[in-house]
Amino acid sequence: MNDRFEPAERNEHHAAWDERLQDWLDADLDAAQTALVESHLAACPVCRERLAELREIDAALADALPRLALDEAFDRRLLAQIHEQDSAARAEARRRAEEEFAAGATALARGWRRSLVLVVTGAIAGAALASALLGQLEASILTEALLTHAPGALDQGWYQLASTMLLGGGIGAMIARWLATAAE
């Protein structure tokens, strides 16, 4: 029966039916197509022969290419590695946070030290300026007061000290602020 086809015809026949035979083998046809292929197979030895070949290669491939799977041991190894990496990442993050904190603290201390230096310098400069100003302004008054109201001279001394401090503080603060902006 096979020789009812010339080779060219045979190839044409294969081209027309092979895919459907393969689909039939893969159970990838609807009911109508399945019925069509099965009735053709019943009548066509060429396609039966081809089907046998397709079936053989299909079985060989299915044997050679099993449904591989990994097991729970794989999951355990993976989760252990994730845990390890996460712990390492957490330790690294902690180290970095501590470093940042330390750097911040140093910067803060440096800032404080600088502020203190500025304030002290400002205060001293302010006091010196104020006392110089007041000294010149009140030298005559003070001498006069000492001479005229001898018992109240001490009060006058305290008054001068207080006003020197007040004025010095004011000028000192201004100088400190100016020094701070100059230092920025």
């Binding site: 092979d18 895919e19 393969q22 893969d26 990838d28 070949e53 397709l54 053989e56 290669i57 299909d58 060989a60 491939l61 299915a62 044997d63 050679a64 290419l65 099993p66 449904r67 591989l68 799977a69 990994l70 794989f74 999951d75 190894r77 993976l78 590695q81 994730i82 990496q85």
Partner: protein, 184 residues
């Protein structure tokens, strides 16, 4: 192609930033699919297992950045393909050096039973197929002849997968015939 409702449970965990729970759901669902895709690309089970582990480590680290811009499965298979391709690039020079070892690895994967020296195993025939055919056939059989899963894993349209499979198996039959003709 990918079902938009698939992995809804995982997406929900991701929206809630519960990455640990999302990963716990994702690992058993994708572990073997990633492994089989890796085997089909690398042709080496041991390496494929290593790559699968690497892929899931990458997934774990990248999970917070996954915005659902694509289906989760598409994202996972893309990561797998990239990992395999870079592994292949790394390995290429080595392969040409110890070809014998490589061939025996391939043969042991594709042909578990010992063959007569006269008959060529289907595994050896597979190696003579163009890479695209070989990969599709390998994955299709390892995925229990699922067109959908093969298409999803490879990121190819269903029609392309079917066409490649048809041509690949047809070619395998021709190779079997050629082989029989040359040995007889």
């Amino acid at each position: 192609m990918p079902d938009p409702t698939a992995d809804a449970d995982i997406h929900e965990r991701l929206r809630g930033r519960d990455y640990r729970e999302a990963f716990t759901l994702l690992l058993p669902r994708y572990r073997d699919k990633v492994f089989r895709l890796s085997v089909s690309m690398l042709r080496d089970q041991a390496r494929a297992e290593d790559i699968t582990q690497e892929v899931f480590l990458r997934i774990w680290r990248a999970l917070p950045g996954f915005q659902g811009q694509s289906a989760l499965s598409t994202w996972i298979y893309a990561i797998t393909k990239n990992a395999c391709l870079s592994e292949l690039r790394k390995r290429r020079p080595q392969v040409s050096l110890d070809d014998d070892e490589y061939d025996s690895e391939v043969a042991s994967l594709a042909a578990p039973e010992v063959d007569d020296s006269a008959t060529v195993s289907v595994g050896q025939l597979l190696e003579r197929l163009p890479e695209r055919y070989r990969q599709v056939v390998t994955l299709f059989y390892m995925e229990d002849k699922s067109y959908d899963q093969t298409a999803a894993s490879l990121g190819l349209p269903l029609g392309t997968v079917k066409a490649l499979l048809h041509r690949a198996r047809k070619r395998l039959i021709e190779l079997t015939r050629e082989d029989a003709a040359s040995t007889s």
